[in-house]
Amino acid sequence: MKENEPTKWYRLDNAAKLYPAIKSRKWTAVFRVSVKMLETVDRDLLSQALDATVGRMGIFSCRLRAGLFWYYFEKNKKRARVMEDAINPCIRLYTKESGGYLFRVRAHDKRISLEVFHSVSDGYGATTFLKTLVAEYLKLKGYDIPATHGVLDCSEPPKEEETEDGFLRYYNKKSVKAWKETLAYQIKGTKEKGHTLNIVNGIISVKDIKAVAKKYDVSLTDFLVGVYIQALYTIQKNDAPKKILPIKVSVPVNLRAFFDTRTMRNFSSYVNPEINANWGDYTFEEILYVVHHYLRHTLTKKQLTAKMSKNVKAEKSIFVRIMPLFIKNIIINAIFHIAGESRITGTLTNLGIIDMPDEMAAHIERFDAMLGALRYNKVSCAVCAFGDILNICFTSTIKEADVEREFFTFLVKMGLHVKLETNREV
């Protein structure tokens, strides 16, 4: 970049605006994707690869600044560095430590991990970043990796369309949101001290679990959400609260599947399939039926447009815009406290099957996704698949492993082979 060129800056997109406002001293919304290579990672090479990748990644090469009315991203001129992994990943990002970057790249043994502040991008953007980083790393190791299957070519400059705000492009000025979310059942448990994040990783064969899902005539996501709701339902029954609230699982949706864009920024929404035990007992088949049809019903272009339009319109309102940032933060915080995570019991995000050029896949064992601690919800789940390995990662901030136990033993009872990895010290 030339010396006298003005610093490039970006407005935050609609989804990104939420996170800086609700972050606290102890907590930022961080999620992580990691890749496990077949060989031990060379940190010096990875560091070089990171230098090459960051310049290409557009929005990832920014730092967060506060303006008078909104936060904004500004091009960061510092160098990003590779950090050591920890037993409790995804703790809040310290910009001082990361040189202002809103992500962390970590290396441990054979694993390369990328932890991202959710304001910058969603799972899709983070996966693209990680894929490009690994491709660059393998190139430095002397392999020839083509820029296909979502791997970006780092010899090119970043493209304008990759930093586009998809929400602004596709929102509908007329559509109005049709329904309100109700309060949801919350998992109880003993809070872990400090910033412990309990991880239980379940590894299952994609082929086997797809065969089981097929028996019920549902997709893999339907099936996993169904099992998750079933697990939460069992816990609610054992817990027997006085007032029975519905069990709702938030399922993030990649909007790129519905709207044409090449953006690397946040462009996802969510739907919350739910069961309400006040209406009677549910069998597993009934839960699957509800989930399957709920997802088909809500995952339409019209409903998703309506959902994002409501948020974009709120952001576009002149009253919101002229409000100074610190007042906005207080209000967004209050809204999040009332209408945010209290409306869901847990989250299950499915990044799907990670696609990669064959030349790259030959060096990779598997792909992991992980959600950092949420602000109020205690247990969340992230799923992704690579080759025949499905990785289901539960992260929790409580001592009890009830959700994980119910979930995985349910799969074991269905005849599936589950291998666990954990950082829990039991």
Partner: protein, 234 residues
């Protein structure tokens, strides 16, 4: 390869207990402890501590400024400390109020209130000794301050253990104010005339007691309470 006998899941070789149910993993075929690498490193990320020390120092320095200025001016014109002692006492109380939350690692309302009480008493004592005291510190200030501290402490405690709820918290507070007024007149009478004759405190006590009574009735009567809620909800 080890399995949990209870859950049926396969576990890592380094795992000694099942992470799901806590059952011990015993593999009779593997006599020696396996030396596999762990999935997650042992190192732990810690968040930086709150900058308590910074805020403590920051507030302290800010408090030093008015004290220094006043002492300097006082010395310059009177060549001894006279009126600046009042400023010192006042700023000292303010300093104690504002720094105590940063001084203690854990926020306990009882510690905070004790510190505040001590600060108020010290400040008042200094002021009394400056104005060639007539004993008002011992006979009025001390009992009133201690009473406020104790009664507020009791209300907070009862609210926290959920004996006092809703409107009863307000009535308890009003009741303690009533008692304070009552006590105040007795103390002042004793200090000035050495004979107790209750007069003006009735004008405060009567409305206060009726408020307490009203709140008590409201608390008991659900229909009235709902009628209020219906008309005043927003």
């Amino acid at each position: 390869m080890s399995y949990c006998v209870n859950c049926g899941v396969e576990l890592e070789r380094t795992q000694k207990k099942c992470p799901l149910c806590g059952v011990k993993v015993i593999n009779p075929m593997e006599k020696e402890a396996p030396e596999d690498k762990k999935t997650f490193p042992e190192t732990r990320d810690e968040l930086k501590k709150t900058e308590r020390a910074f805020w403590f120092k920051f507030i302290s320095i800010i408090c030093v400024v008015p004290i220094a200025t006043c002492v300097l001016l006082n010395l310059l014109y009177d060549s001894r400390l006279t009126w600046s002692v009042f400023v010192i006492a006042g700023v000292f109380m303010l300093w104690a109020f504002s720094t105590s939350p940063f001084y203690f690692r854990k926020f306990r309302y009882i510690t905070m209130m004790s510190v505040d009480l001590a600060a108020v008493l010290t400040g008042l004592f200094v002021i009394e000794s400056m104005v060639a005291g007539k004993g008002w510190f011992l006979s009025i200030a001390l009992p009133v301050a201690v009473y406020c501290f104790v009664s507020l402490g009791i209300v907070i405690y009862l609210t926290r253990i959920k004996i006092l709820k809703g409107l009863r918290v307000t009535s308890a507070l009003v009741l303690s104010i009533t008692l304070l007024i009552f006590m105040l007149e007795i103390l002042i009478d004793l200090y000035t005339a050495s004979a107790i004759s209750l007069f003006w405190s009735w004008f405060v006590i009567a409305p206060c007691l009726s408020i307490v009574l009203l709140l008590f009735i409201l608390e008991k009567n659900q229909r009235v309470r709902e009628a209020f809620a219906r008309r005043l909800h927003f």
